[in-house]
Symmetry: C2
């Protein structure tokens, strides 16, 4: 793992990120890797928001993971700032090798540096392997995640 | 409901917001209504972030509800921006009268105006009444919500 670099995503990384988002039982139906325009527009919006951290994990020049960390100040829990993790993906070739653990631990450390008192994420109810993964990392499955599509 | 105003929270609203956060089986252990300093500091941070909308519902000059809407741009789902709803509370005197429905519907409308394609929230697994409430409003309990305290 010594050769792993975790850095902010740039426009050049977008094709690799979208390929990972699409290479997924749920993502396959939702993504359009042949048309990157909406993704590049979204990247600009992410880059304009200092509380968004869209990251990639890179090994030997190749993007092998992505996640997004959002810093959310709030009043609840004595004015606790929380970090929300979204869109965690690890390249199929790299799964089971500890990259996911290392990457999520990076996100937790970064949340701590930002003064967050809570890290939270939701995972589709069908992703039972992911649930065990987050529980091994110390997360508690204490909540139900609701979504409404507009 | 005609006399209900929904507006951005200000420093003067903080005591009423914290009282609602604390008047809750889970919140009672987490909040400190006698020391508002951390809440006022958090409000300043919220006010400095254009993607945060900390709102109050006011009736006859009295704060009777609060929620926070966070706008999160992202790459997943073809660059979809999502809205995250946190810290929804309705004053005990106002529960069951449709205020929660009206307030969450306001948040969904506002998310739509902001160009969001998804509204999401998590609710503690023990809040079964809240789960039925969100399902009635069209939300789907499709995810498991994980939290890690730092």
């Amino acid at each position: 793992m010594e050769d792993l670099e975790i850095r902010r995503a740039a426009a050049d990384d977008v094709p690799a990120i979208v390929a990972m988002l699409a290479d997924d039982p749920l993502g396959a139906r939702r993504e359009s890797p042949d048309d990157l325009t909406p993704y590049l527009t979204a990247l600009e919006r992410i880059e304009g928001d200092p509380n968004q951290h869209l990251m990639v994990a890179v090994r030997r020049g190749r993007v092998v993971g992505t996640l997004q960390l959002t810093i959310v100040p709030g009043l609840a829990r004595r004015g606790a700032t929380r970090a929300i993790v979204e869109a965690v993906r690890v390249h199929a070739d790299e799964r089971g090798g500890g990259l996911g653990t290392r990457f999520v631990e990076w996100a937790v450390d970064r949340a701590r540096e930002e003064g967050c008192r809570l890290v939270q994420l939701t995972s589709d109810a069908t992703r039972t392997d992911a649930h065990r993964f987050y529980e091994r990392l110390g997360f508690t499955a204490s909540h139900v995640g609701f979504k409404l599509q507009l």
